[in-house]
């Protein structure tokens, strides 16, 4: 069951008015332009025991994603395909509003939205992850941990998951006679990643749109909409999130803003793997 959040701090009306009046003049409380992302920093290999990992900083938002690749059983209807699993946890260290415990609806939503974008774009070549078709395949676990919440966890999580997957390597292994798989050395072979997927979240506030909303902005937005793109700019996922509505005729405007901006996180991703 989903319940209206009733423990969120009340936003002073004055703040909403300030953010909105600034936005109508094309400006934001942190001096950004309306369509400007915060600074993006990607640190690869941030978790040593993971088979791939990345720490993404989006302004003050920090998300750490780790990938673990383990042998496991395929799904019976996809016997020769690897398995992709995406989870997200909003850790209590990240915000005074996050409680310890199993993922709530917000964390589940982020995980499922990231999962769908990766799956539908076929970003990972799951067909290359069979070890013994029908018996053993690689199971790719992507765990997204939110460390510090300053808004736009969708884009930060998407970017962290994608960077961690690009960083990921399959463990050296041998197949024993009984069909079991033994890990014999550190990971070397890169995970077969076919596509790079990134997302752009747009906040709607009255007649204006804000790219990459901060936490302060999120609290006053009417609603948000997240668009995921592959490298060619195809739409590979979308989610309206947060209570409230969006003018029907303005969805196309929000989409065009997002499509003009997806190269920003994409370039950040490419930059992280160049050096």
């Amino acid at each position: 069951m989903s319940i209206t959040p009733f423990n969120i701090p009340i936003v002073p009306k004055l703040k909403k008015e300030t953010i909105y009046s600034l936005a109508r003049k094309g400006s934001r409380i942190d001096k950004r332009k309306l369509d400007q992302f915060r600074e993006i920093k990607i640190t690869l290999g941030a978790a040593g025991k993971a088979h791939g990992s990345a720490l993404v900083e989006l302004g003050h938002t920090k998300v750490l994603a780790g990938v673990k690749i383990e042998p496991g059983r395929p799904f019976s209807d996809m016997p020769d395909q690897g398995v992709l699993n995406v989870s997200a946890e909003f850790l209590p260290i990240a915000s005074s509003e996050f409680e310890p415990g199993p993922p709530d609806e917000n964390a589940i939503e982020v995980a499922r939205v990231v999962d769908r974008a990766l799956r539908e774009s076929q970003a990972i070549d799951l067909g290359k992850l069979a070890i013994i078709p029908g018996e053993k395949v690689w199971v790719v676990w992507v765990d997204i941990n939110v460390l510090d919440h300053d808004g736009n966890l969708f884009d930060a999580s998407m970017l962290a998951a994608m960077a961690a997957l690009l960083d990921a390597k399959i463990p050296q292994h041998e197949i024993l006679e009984d069909g079991s798989v033994r890990i014999i050395g550190p990971p070397i072979e890169p995970l077969p990643v076919k596509k790079r997927v990134v997302s752009v979240t747009i906040g709607a506030l009255g007649n204006v749109f804000l790219v990459d909303p901060s936490l302060e902005e999120e609290a006053v937005l009417d609603t948000r909409i997240m668009f995921s793109f592959d490298e060619e700019g195809n739409l590979v996922g979308m989610q309206k999130t947060g209570a409230g509505w969006l003018d029907w005729d303005k969805v196309a405007i929000a989409f065009n803003i997002a499509r003009n901006k997806y190269t920003v996180p994409l370039r950040a991703l490419q930059g992280a793997f160049k050096s």
Partner: protein, 240 residues
Amino acid sequence: MSGKKPPFPLLKDGKRHDGRGPMDLRPIQMKVGILHNADGSAWVKMGRTEVIAAAYGPREPPMKAMILPDRAVIRFRYHMAPFSTDERKSPAPSRREIELSKVIREALEATILTHLFPRTVIDVFAEVIQADGGTRTAAITAASLALADAGIPMKGLIAGVAVGKVEGQLVLDIDQVEDEYGEADMPVAAIVGLRKIVLLQLNGVLKPDEFLKALSMAWEGLKRIYELERSVLGSKYKGV
């Protein structure tokens, strides 16, 4: 969107596997006031997809902590009956049901005039009796009807429909087979009378021009569903 080959052609001579054209909705049936206890209730059937929704409230919140001083709290649950699917579904809430409950509850927040009922809770529950694609959009349509049946003030009725892509072509109101073997599923819900989108998701891949076309196709479907909602509610009150 499993990437698997369909067992039969999904599109042949411009017709879909069930004989519909690309812009045809499945046959739709709606009823309101079908439950005795609920303050409002509705039954929606789209093709083989069938959903019952009930609304209770505004009423006393079960916990003190749940109270909002300036408006009503909304609780919504999307739930599938264990026998609604091809293989039995565990009645425990899945991650999918948790996500759908959230996005539909957020959609309802946009239309219910919650500020009229501070310190109360409004409950809406949708039970999927048979799942054959488009259950979330049928659930939100049913939820909106149940709220209207309960007399809970709203800014407008919500209608929901999905646009899909099968064998490269955009089609309206996809069913389970078209969802499973198609290339995209884009559920949309809107307050039709106000032209406001309250739910929008995409599972699959669309080119930019396809996305814009899918949106306009959804609008055509939503208008038709909205007219049906209005006539069902209208005929209920005509009999009084």
